[in-house]
């Protein structure tokens, strides 16, 4: 799949003869090399989970948040270059508060996704800027119900029922497709997401990881927040059990 774009990959403002912009594809590679990020749309809300690969044993658990709230009703999980992700989150927060200030209501998730996507796209149009090296899973709950969007470094954004980006995205997507999302509540979804992340985590290549999850659902009163500690522990335990059962076979 990876072809060397000799000569045509030096600038994001250069097309290759076969119509590709290599710099954007390279940016996508940064996302593919990061820990898996999953989002699912359940009956009553959105659940997002991140496989946070731990670089050092001395890191405090709970630091280096990868999932950020953008407004009361929506949040973003980031894969790829964390610093780039911070910039996009800051921009999204600013768009959300600006929309609220002008229109008097929380920004519809669709509108937020469009604004984030066009901001990411902006940085693929000028040679003095580099594309963002991160993929975003954006989940929110507005009056049209829960919605899930993915924004890629190229600036495209699609709406999904279930999505995964990062290292284990192929395996994760297969697992997500097996789920019956339209019947699932977010409580059940949290357990399923934890199981998937534990499953796609590659023990050989990456040693330790921390699971970070958030949801926005009826149970959280349509507010985006970290999954409550007790439910998170329950999910982790269920995921570990599921793994052991698999190994036992």
């Amino acid at each position: 799949m990876s072809s060397i774009g000799t000569g045509y990959d030096l600038s994001v403002t250069t097309f290759s003869p076969d119509g590709r912009v290599f710099q954007i594809e390279y940016a996508a590679k940064a996302v593919d090399n990061s820990g898996t990020v999953i989002g699912i749309k359940c009956k009553d809300g959105i659940v997002m989970g991140v496989e946070k690969l731990i670089a050092s044993k001395m890191m405090l658990p709970g630091s280096n948040r990868r999932i950020h709230s953008v407004h009361r009703h929506s949040g973003m999980a980031v894969a790829g270059l964390a610093a780039d992700g911070r910039q996009i989150v800051a921009r999204a927060k600013s768009e959300a508060t600006n929309y609220q200030s002008v229109y008097g209501e929380p920004i519809p998730v669709k509108e937020l996704a469009e604004r984030v996507a066009s901001y990411v796209h902006l940085c693929t149009l000028y040679w003095w800027l580099r594309p963002f090296g991160c993929g975003i899973i954006l989940g929110g709950y507005d009056r049209d119900g829960p919605q899930l969007y993915v924004v890629e470094p190229s600036g495209i954004s699609y709406r999904y029922f279930g999505a995964a980006i990062g290292k284990g995205k192929q395996a994760a997507k297969t697992e997500i497709e097996k789920l019956n999302l339209s019947e699932m509540t977010c409580r059940e979804g949290v357990i399923e997401v934890a199981k998937i992340i534990y499953k796609v985590h590659d023990e050989a290549k990456d040693k330790a990881f921390e699971l970070e999850m958030s949801w926005v659902c009826d149970e959280s009163k349509q507010q985006h927040q970290k999954v409550p500690d007790d439910l998170l522990e329950e999910a982790k335990a269920a995921a570990r059990n599921a793994l052991e059962e698999m190994d036992a076979d």
């Binding site: 948040r65 407004h71 958030s214 507010q223």
Partner: protein
């Protein structure tokens, strides 16, 4: 930000038309006291347009975050602007999602900075604010004026409340009032204000904030008594009266 101040020409003629010179729609006194479980605050629901009692359904007390309650007298539109600032403040605080939340002391400090900085630009937010709350068992009650004067106390009031209600509270307030006693005391103060403050209306709300959260009563009215003999024939013996 909504209002565009020509920052570089504060002394020019255009700048003058943007400064607050006088309030237009105003609310009258707010009275608040600490009681056993938290803070009790009372305010009527009137919005006066000069001497006309034009608006009679103005809620002058609002919850701020999980731990605080803000009551305001003075210009109603400035109060709404303050609520917008505080909304942003609480939103950003919530988005950290780290288990911490702004308490009444922090909100009071923020409001003080806000009011004082506007006063220094000669463009005040024309309000007297009462900020009460309770966090981790610690009760807090403070006030900020439109010129940035701020302090905290066991009972506070704004406007006419300072002259009519505070003396009553100084006599009758004590530590660990029960809820019923607190309400009774506030109603006593509000009744005096109703009799003597011409911008008061007989439609008030009492709000309480405790560790569990904030509740605000439905609007209700106080019973008044006008049959005092001193009110009969008030002009008898007054020279030049009829």
């Amino acid at each position: 930000m909504a209002s565009k101040q020509p920052e570089n020409s504060l002394l020019g003629p255009e700048a003058d038309s943007q400064r607050t010179l006088y309030p237009n729609v105003t609310g009258t006194s707010v009275v608040a006291l600490k009681y056993k479980d938290g803070i009790l605050m009372a305010a009527d629901m009137g919005g006066s347009y000069g001497s006309t009692l034009r608006y009679k359904n103005v809620e002058r007390m609002k919850a701020i975050g999980k731990h605080s309650l803000l009551g305001a007298s003075g210009e109603i539109s400035d109060f709404q602007e303050i609520l917008r600032y505080l909304d942003d403040l609480i939103l950003y605080d919530n988005m950290w999602d780290d288990g911490n939340s702004l308490g009444p002391k922090e909100v009071h400090n923020y409001l003080t900075r806000l009011m004082y900085n506007r006063r220094n630009k000669f463009n005040p937010l024309w309000n007297s604010l009462v900020l009460g709350g309770i966090k981790n068992g610690e009760k807090y009650l403070g006030t900020v004026s439109m010129i940035g004067v701020n302090f905290e106390d066991d009972h506070v009031a704004t406007g006419f409340g300072n002259h009519l209600a505070r003396p009553i509270l100084r006599q009758e307030w004590h530590e660990n009032l029960s809820f019923e006693d607190g309400v009774r005391l506030l109603e006593k103060c509000m009744r005096v204000l109703l009799y003597r403050d011409r911008s008061a209306i007989n439609k008030l709300q009492i709000a309480k904030i405790t560790e569990e959260g904030m509740t605000i009563s439905q609007p209700y009215s106080l019973k008044t008594y006008w049959e005092f003999s001193a009110f009969e024939n008030p002009t008898q013996g007054a020279v030049g009266s009829w």
